[in-house]
Amino acid sequence: MKYADEFRDKTIAQGLARAIGAEAKSQRDYRFMEFCGGHTHAIFRYGLEDILPANVRMIHGPGCPVCVLPASRIDMAIRLAELPQVTLCIYGDLMRVPGSQGKSLLSAKAFGADIRMVYSTLDAILIAEQAPNREVVFFAIGFETTTPPTAVMIRLAEKKWLKNVSVFCNHVLTPAAMHSILEGQDIHNGGRIEVDGFLGPAHVSTIIGTKPYEVLAEKFGKPIVIGGFEPLDMMQAILMLVRQVNESRYEVENQYSRAVTRKGNRRAKEKVSDIFEVRDQFEWRGLGLVPHSGLKLKQAYAQFDAEMRFAMHEVRVADNPTCECGAILRGLKGPVDCKLFGTVCTPETPIGSCMVSSEGACAAHWTYGRFRIIN
């Protein structure tokens, strides 16, 4: 695949690993958090942890939208899907995420709820056109990458005069979450997180650009390097982070310049700001309530807002106390620190969302990393 294969060359990766080893000072540790689940997945998939020097460690952050969705929002979606008139359209990753009662959308579907997996928001529009007597609700979830497609969908529904379409909005904002992590606000579960820098998200940044991170780097004195998802991209970004730490710099740098600019995608941002506005706060699994970190539909689009249309309400629920997802998402623990990992909790029988999503740290570790534990 052009623009992918060239960035996976093993020999260059080994050369980069040596360069990182030579520049990383042996007397100190470097702890970098990759915010994005796509990076977590790639780190495990390509075994990057094995070729990085021992004192350069990656901390797997919360950047998987499925993993950070609190169980209460899944409960809301299940209650919605159980309404006889509703067809709920979801991205596939959501199917198995456990809600608070151990129920999932998959089990609701097995009991007769009309739940359809879609690949794109355009599929949801098609379903609504074909079934004008059904209430078609799209379970919108994701960071800044999936928000513009939801905005396009709402515009399209408006243009086509579709009266049976709405959106259950769970879109969240990356910089707000990074801010919350760096502030270490939610310390009741085990303390602050020590990170020396961030490997910043690639695809989110194609939309928002690198500018929104500048205030974070400045305020917290942490370097942020936006890196692509191919292994060489990530290795180069890590080298750039090591250099910044060595030189006591804390800037926003852009390794992924082939797709990311400082300003981002103007057209996509406009579509989003036309339709959405920031919520006062939104609950994240592992981070708790994070101010200004989620989006909702503007009042003018209330007819497309499933939460208004179906008078949905959120009942906060405590996470399963044995599941360590919360600590894992904040970079305080790893999958093997969880007692349930690989015994009770596997991708077949996930207890927490980090095991459900293929971008979750537990699932990635299960699929690609678990054999390392016994070595």
């Binding site: 960035f7 060359d9 050369g15 040596r18 928001t121 979830i141 396009v152 390794q255 082939r258 797709a259």
Partner: protein, 78 residues
Amino acid sequence: MCLSVPAEVTKILPDDLAIVSIDSIRKEISIALIDDLAVGDYVLVHVGYALARIDPAEAEHTLQLLHELGSVGHGLQP
């Protein structure tokens, strides 16, 4: 959900749609988020939408840099 792939635009369709080719698999996607796409451009495709155009000159530049860094690394003592 966050994974996305580079794809080549092979045909522009009406209504902000396009056909792209990913390793010779053809797929219809939305290009509502990108201005002025042309056949032959490369884009990042994510949940059925082109999110960003890939800049060939920047890609070439990054690759060159990677080759240099990689060979410098190989010259170092392990």
